[in-house]
Point group: C2
Chain length 206, copies 2
C-alpha cells in the first residue's frame, strides 16, 4: 500500500468506516462530552463493534482530536470569509447570520467545541493561541480599518467578535434552556436572527 497524500492511502472501506465512526462519535460527544462518552456508545451509534471502531482509530482520544481538527476549518470559515473590500456593516451582519445559521444547522459541532473549551481545551491548546488567534487578529485588523474609515461605529473589535460568538452559539449550546424558557410556539433561531440583526445594526451604524 502506498502512502500518498491525506486520505489516498486508505481503502474504500477504510474511508467509509472512518467517516461513519466520526459521524457517530460527533453525535455522542456532542451530547455527553468527552469524559461522558464511551467507545461502546460510539460503536452502538454507528452500528459497529467496539473492536472494529478501535481498528480504525487507535483510541477514543484520537477520534476526538480528529473530529476537533477536522471541524475547526468549517467552524472558522465564516470569520475568514469576511471581505475587507465589502460593505462594512453588511459584512458584519452577514457574518452574524452565517454564524447563527451554523448553530442551527450544526449544533453538534457547536457543542463539541463548547465542551472542549469548557474543559480547558486540552486538545486545542496550540490552535487557540495559534491559528485561531491569527484568524481573529486578521478580522480585528479589518474591523479597525473600517472603524477608522468611519464605516463602523467605534467598538472594541475583540469583544465584538466575542459577542457574536457567544450569542450565536448560545442557541445551540444552551438549547435546552432556551426552549424551556421560551416554551412552545417559538422558533428560537428565526427570532434570534431578527434580534441579532437589529442589535448589530444599531450597535455598529456610525
Amino acid at each position: 500500500m502506498m502512502d500518498e497524500a491525506k486520505d489516498s492511502g486508505l481503502t474504500r472501506i477504510q474511508r467509509r468506516n472512518r467517516e461513519i465512526i466520526l459521524e457517530g462519535a460527533l453525535t455522542v460527544f456532542a451530547v455527553n462530552g468527552f469524559r461522558g462518552t464511551t467507545i461502546d456508545q460510539i460503536a452502538a451509534e454507528c452500528g459497529l463493534s467496539k473492536p472494529n471502531v478501535l481498528y480504525y482509530f487507535p483510541s477514543k482520544d484520537e477520534i476526538h482530536k480528529t473530529l476537533l481538527t477536522k471541524l475547526l476549518d468549517m467552524w472558522l470559515a465564516p470569520l475568514e470569509n469576511i471581505e475587507p473590500e465589502g460593505e462594512a456593516l453588511q459584512e458584519v451582519l452577514d457574518y452574524v447570520a452565517a454564524k447563527l445559521r451554523m448553530s442551527r444547522e450544526y449544533p453538534r459541532e457547536s457543542r463539541l467545541f463548547a465542551y472542549e473549551i469548557l474543559r480547558g481545551a486540552p486538545h486545542l491548546t496550540e490552535i487557540l493561541g495559534g491559528r485561531l488567534r491569527n484568524t481573529v487578529d486578521d478580522a480585528v485588523a479589518v474591523l479597525r480599518g473600517w472603524t477608522e474609515a468611519g464605516k463602523l461605529r467605534n467598538v472594541d473589535p475583540h469583544h465584538l467578535i466575542f459577542s457574536i460568538w457567544s450569542m450565536t452559539q448560545h442557541y445551540a449550546d444552551f438549547e435546552v434552556q432556551v426552549r424551556a424558557v421560551l416554551g412552545e410556539g417559538h422558533d428560537p433561531f428565526s427570532e434570534a436572527e431578527i434580534f441579532l440583526e437589529d442589535m448589530y445594526r444599531r450597535l455598529l451604524t456610525p
Copy 2:
C-alpha cells in the same frame, strides 16, 4: 437528635464537613464536569477520605444536585432584583453589570451551570421549565412594560435576556479561549464591562 428545619438537625462537624465537600466539589466539577469528576478527586480536593465524603453525601449525584440547587438562587438573584419602579435603561445596565461581575467572581458556578445545560440539564429539568421560566416571564413582563411606556427601545425581551446571559457567561465559561485570543496585557472583564455597557445603552435607548 431532633429534626427541625433545614440545617438545624446537623452537628457542628456535619455542617462544617458538608460545606467543605460542597466547596471542593464545586472546584472539581467546574473544571471537569460531572462525568469527568471522580469522588476521589473531590475527596483529595477537600482533604477528606473517599468513604468520609460518602458518609456526608449518599452519592456523587447527590453532591452535584445539592450544589446546583443551592447555587441557583445566587445565580438568579440579579434577575429577580430588577426593580420595575426603577429607571428602565439603568436597571438593565445594572443587571448586565451584575451578571458580568458574577462571571468574574464566581466562574466556577457559571461553569457548573454551563456543563449542566450542555448535558441537557438532567438535574435541572423541573427547574428550567418551572422556577427559571417564571422568573424570566416576570422579567419579560417588566421589560415589556418599559417598552410600552416608551422607556426602552422595542426589542424582543426574551432574546435580550438570552443575549445578556450568553455574553456575560461567555467570559467565565470560555475563559481559556478569551485569554488565548486576547493574549497578554488584557483584562477581559473590565474591557467587557465597557463594551457591554456601550452596547446595551445603544441598543435600548429609544
